[in-house]
């Protein structure tokens, strides 16, 4: 596609539920990043994929968070047993190579009630 696509754009879920957030990177981009952003803060790094593998998952806050990229393209961020503190904007970005410009999607705003 023309840009990074994230779905859904908004997600409201109940505390304790499981959610999946999807990211479609720009075709041909090998690097993919997930970030979480709270209001008034900068994007907080969660995980970085190079191809199919997670090159760095040091930003995942706990084991309730997991992300996959099985074919080296689309990625899914999975959050189990959601908590109200998980409410944030979740941003995905991709780049052609790790040392080139990263392009962001419009984000998924997750609200846990």
């Amino acid at each position: 596609g023309a840009g990074v696509s994230q779905t859904p754009s908004n997600k409201v879920t109940e505390k304790g539920k499981y959610v999946e957030l999807r990211c479609d990177p720009i075709s041909g981009h090998t690097a993919l990043y997930w970030y979480r952003q709270s209001l008034g803060q900068g994007p907080e790094f969660l995980i970085y994929f190079q191809g199919t593998g997670a090159a760095d998952d040091s930003g995942l806050p706990n084991d309730r968070f997991f992300a996959v990229r099985p074919e080296g393209s689309v990625s899914t961020l999975k959050i189990q047993r959601t908590e109200r503190g998980d409410s944030a904007m979740y941003l995905c970005a991709s780049s052609f190579r790790p040392n080139t410009e990263a392009f962001f999607g419009q984000g998924t705003r997750l609200t846990v009630v």
Partner: protein, 111 residues
């Protein structure tokens, strides 16, 4: 954890004035990138400067990088009301390609 720290946290200027934002970071980098964000949605890439570059221009944007001081600055010349946004610097680690953002500068340009 955040790598870059932007300064100032907020900047308010009149249309036509120049806006300067600064970014400091802590570790070695492959490159440094500047982004703009409107209304809390996706970030828009503005400019990338590599660790072996000292200055780069793109339209009304001028970016400098001083690796000895671990700092960068973004200058927006002849600002417009449409430049009102949050601006973030992000540093790319040399080995793993982890891109880490600062807290951002909120720029308000008054017409």
């Amino acid at each position: 954890s955040q790598q870059g720290e932007e300064d100032p946290q907020a900047l308010s200027i009149q249309e036509g004035e120049n806006a300067t934002m600064n970014c400091s970071y802590k570790t070695s980098i492959n490159n440094l990138q500047w982004y703009r964000q409107n209304s809390g949605r996706g970030l828009v890439h503005l400019i990338l400067i590599r660790s072996n570059e000292r200055e780069k221009h793109s339209g009304r944007l001028r970016v400098t990088l001083d690796t000895s001081k671990k700092s960068s600055s973004l200058l927006i010349t002849a600002s417009r009301a449409a430049d009102t946004a949050s601006y973030f610097c992000a540093t790319l680690e040399p080995i793993y390609g982890k891109l880490t953002f600062g807290q951002g500068t909120i720029l308000t340009v008054h017409p």
